[in-house]
């Protein structure tokens, strides 16, 4: 379990001599076990904020605390180690490795642990069972539908049992039925497994499944 505390976070991109302020003094608190949806128009800074929370980008200023870790103070190496243990990332386009089977994709984050091969396989299979795809363990991504691929990606995100899940438009590339299934799954992970979830979405139906909706406009959180 972990809460997310974002304090006075600013992100500025430099393009040649021009400075683009993407996030401007963001303050956000996500309590333990919360399911938050970040909404807003394109370019409002939703994904940037998500990336900062997940530790895959660095804030220009401000602090981000996830659980007891001040993410903004970690070195590159420490940040990578922290991500592997504490954050599960769900991408819009699934981003499964095409040469690996569903089971191998899910097992990938466990390669960074000291688990034995048998233990890794067992955990990966358990994660696939949670998302209802144990029978597709040996299938390759090209043999799965979009919804199934996203479920494998979710299994990969939860296999290390992270406290926080961040999802960047997880239903953005899916049909309505598959999107519902994915949202049901996220809901399950939040309710049953007490995962803190921060989800970026454009879809009001997806946002409605979250407990809290926050809107971003031009790099600022709407009140």
């Amino acid at each position: 379990m972990a809460s997310v505390e974002v304090r006075q976070v600013t992100k500025v991109y430099k393009r040649d001599a021009q400075e683009i302020v993407v996030l401007n003094g963001i303050d956000l608190t996500v309590p333990d076990g919360e399911f938050v949806a970040l909404m807003g128009p394109s370019g409002s800074g939703k994904t940037t904020l998500l990336n900062l929370i997940a530790g895959i980008d660095r804030a220009t200023s401000g602090n981000i605390m996830v659980g007891s870790t001040l993410v903004t103070s970690l070195s590159e190496g420490d940040l990578a180690r922290w991500r592997s243990r504490h954050v599960g990332f769900i991408f819009q386009f699934y981003n499964l490795i095409p040469v690996l089977s569903a089971l191998e994709n899910v097992e990938l984050p466990l390669l960074l642990t000291s688990l034995s091969k048998a233990q890794r396989r067992e955990r990966a299979l358990t994660a696939l069972k949670v998302v209802g795809l144990a029978d597709r363990a040996k299938h390759y991504p090209r043999q799965l539908s979009g919804g199934q691929e996203q479920r494998v990606a979710i299994a990969r995100a939860i296999v290390t049992d992270p406290a926080v899940l961040v999802a960047d438009e997880p239903t953005g590339d899916l049909d309505a039925k598959s999107a519902e299934d994915i949202l049901d799954l996220l809901d399950l992970l939040n309710r049953e497994f007490k995962k803190t979830i921060v989800m970026v979405t454009h879809d009001p139906r997806a946002a409605a499944r979250a407990h809290v909706e926050r809107h971003l406009e031009k790099g600022r959180l709407a009140a």
Binding site: G77, A80, R83, F91, F93, L100
Partner: protein, 397 residues
């Protein structure tokens, strides 16, 4: 090791590209290994030259002969123990593709100088007793199935030695290398009596005709005095019509090799070019592989793979390609290098060296070169992957 299946799966992703890279690299390694084996044979042969032997030849060129009358004059010089005429006969057995080195030598003086040619006393006696006798090396005998008592014919390609027909020979002995010296003694040659050649020429061209001496092999009494003997020989004939050039056996062999041009430089140059090609081929393959996988690299980093680990995985792919190519290339060279001497033209040169084989040192060094170059080629794309920022790579989808 737990990442090895991941590396192998990636290599199988574009198997045509991986396979073509491996084949290309393996051929390069095969070429380098073969060239280095030839250079190794040349080096071993020149290193194995006996310091107590010197070779006297025509000062202008090896293609001119010297008067036979020089022999007694050399023999009387201080420091000289033995002198023997040795002529490159240039005889062709059956066909040019069956060419092997063959020499007409003054056997009674020549073989005592060359203890490295080991022949059974009975066979040597039979050889000396037979004017048409021939001594063949063990490798040559095995290659053409020569046995004691066999007869065969050879005709020279060198005009002064071309008489009305081929010369007939009887195999009277088979010589070997001493134990442990097989890699430095050429047992692919054939010797016969110079007097047989000389008298055949006289018999067919008249009493005044003679073959002349292509070279004089000279054994000195003291290896420390070799330089003085060489100077004395050449000084002796300084004011003659036919001046001589005397050099150590090693220098003579090196000069003989130089007849084909700067062979060592050429082979090393080809090796360098091939090595550079390996670098480019692998670098190109790895760059393509990394460029195609920018998103995957970003995903790996998102999952917690450190930049160093991602870099190591890519270098691991380059290493695997290089190692497999190296093994295939060296394996091919080991299998094929023995057949080089039977190739047209190559045989003329390589026949003068002991049987070619890829030594463990050459094989290992070539393999290490493959691995080193392949891994180095993977460094640049690996550095690119190391520096890839997750957000940039994910945005470029």
């Amino acid at each position: 090791m737990k990442f090895l299946p991941y590396v192998l799966k990636h290599l199988r992703r574009s198997w045509v590209r991986t396979l073509s890279t491996i084949i290309g690299m393996a051929l390069c390694i095969f070429l380098i290994c073969t060239l280095q084996t030839v250079l190794d044979a040349i080096r071993k042969t020149t290193e194995a030259a006996n310091p107590s032997r010197v070779v006297t030849r025509h000062a202008v060129s090896l293609t001119f002969n010297m008067p036979l009358a020089y022999k007694p004059r050399i023999q009387t010089l201080p420091g000289v123990r033995r002198v023997a005429v040795s002529n490159w006969f240039g005889g062709v057995y059956r066909d040019m593709k069956d060419f092997f080195p063959n020499f007409a030598v003054e056997s009674e003086d020549y073989f005592p100088m060359y203890p490295e040619y080991v022949v059974a006393p009975a066979e040597y006696g039979a050889y000396l007793a037979d004017m048409q006798g021939a001594l063949v090396g063990r490798d040559l005998a095995e290659k053409y199935g020569f046995n004691i008592g066999d007869t065969f014919q050879m005709e020279s390609i060198i005009p002064p030695y071309r008489v009305s027909g081929p010369l007939k020979f009887n195999v009277r002995g088979i010589y070997d290398a001493p134990p442990g010296k097989r890699s430095s003694v050429n047992t692919g040659m054939m010797f016969f009596h110079f007097k047989y050649l000389n008298e055949t020429i006289r018999g067919q061209r008249g009493a005044g005709a003679y073959s002349g001496a292509g070279t004089f092999s000279v054994q000195v009494t003291d290896p420390g005095g070799t330089a003085a003997v060489m100077r004395a020989i050449d000084t002796n004939f300084e004011n003659s019509d036919v001046q001589t050039k005397t050099e150590t056996e090693g220098a003579f062999l090196a000069g003989f090799i130089a007849l084909t041009g700067n062979l060592v430089g050429l082979l090393n140059g080809v090796g360098l070019a091939v090595g550079f090609t390996i670098l480019l081929v692998t670098a190109n393959t790895m760059s393509m592989a990394v460029r195609e996988r920018r998103t995957e690299i970003a995903v790996l980093k998102t999952l917690g793979f450190s930049s160093r680990l991602v870099m190591a995985l890519i270098i691991g792919e380059a290493f695997t390609i290089a190692a497999v190519s190296g093994l295939i290339g060296v394996g091919l060279a080991r299998g094929a290098v023995g057949g080089l001497a039977s190739l047209p033209f190559m045989g003329l040169l390589l026949g003068n060296f002991p049987a070619l084989e890829v030594s463990p040192v050459v094989g290992s060094l070539t393999f290490l070169l493959a691995v080193g170059l392949g891994t180095a080629a993977g460094l640049v794309p690996a550095m690119g992957a190391y520096r890839t920022r997750i957000t940039d790579a994910l945005r470029s989808v």
